[in-house]
Symmetry: C2
Subunit: 160 residues, 2 copies
């Protein structure tokens, strides 16, 4: 599909986009990623070693009422989906920061997809060749429940 | 050290803290974590497969001017430091979301530490046994450069 159309435009195209190609309201959709239970536990053991991410019975007794992936695992998988299919920035995805939220847990066996929308485009005043694109990426499971929202400030460059 | 002292109080104590134990201005300090080059590349291959996180010469030619860890790797390592030593919440660290920023890249060989400060405490109006603690965690390398800032909304529970 064509990119550069306002509001309800969609693009699943792998064509890399420059600063001038983005439009507010433009949307993008990633491929899928299956959350495997053994990877959930391995990620948690390395980076978020808490019982509700590591052990089924401890997780049942916790607030999560069952094994839940570390929120950082969901965040990292979202990044993979954005890099490999979800958000074709020409110079790669270089995030400066943003806001994150985890409204629901990610569970073993969940299939995640990411929908992104361009919220704002801010050309740099001091560096004419670059700008910031503000993108809201919403990660959902197969039931279309939102498990993660990342509103990111991403660096974009003008086409030479 | 005692916890619960305002402003310049410090705690490296592993003693788990409940909602009523936190005070605005209270600070916490984590242990250290060495960023290994092979783990930087493995993390990036799995979650953020971009040339500047994977390949030295591609990274030299990029905005980063040298190999840089994925920002999500820095975020995940920060979580590990908070869980294992940096932020002793009694019921574990359950984040609802927050703000993140990566002001500088993390490099192979960097040693990271995290300093946290309690910014705000919001008892829940509807659930008398719980509340939200807003914590700013600043991750620095061995040169004391800030590589990551996470201002988190973390769930806390009253002592029974």
């Amino acid at each position: 599909m064509l990119h550069g159309m306002p509001k309800d435009a969609e693009s699943e195209s792998p064509e890399p986009l420059f600063l001038n190609d983005f439009r507010v309201g433009q949307t993008f959709h990633s491929g899928e990623y299956l959350m495997d239970e053994s990877r959930i536990k391995a990620f948690a053991a390395e980076f978020d070693p808490q019982p509700f991410h590591l052990d089924e019975s401890a997780a049942q007794a916790s607030l999560f009422r069952g094994l839940a992936a570390s929120g950082w695992h969901t965040a990292a998988v979202t990044m993979r989906l954005l890099v490999t299919s979800g958000l074709p920035f020409a110079n790669g995805l270089i995030g400066l920061g943003g806001e994150i939220a985890w409204p629901n847990p990610t569970r073993p066996g969940d299939t995640l997809t990411v929908d992104s929308e361009i919220l704002e485009i801010r050309p740099s005043k001091s560096k004419p060749k670059q700008g910031i694109v503000i993108v809201r990426s919403t990660t959902r499971n197969q039931k279309r429940e939102t498990v993660y929202v990342f509103t990111a400030n991403i660096l974009a460059f003008r086409r030479d």
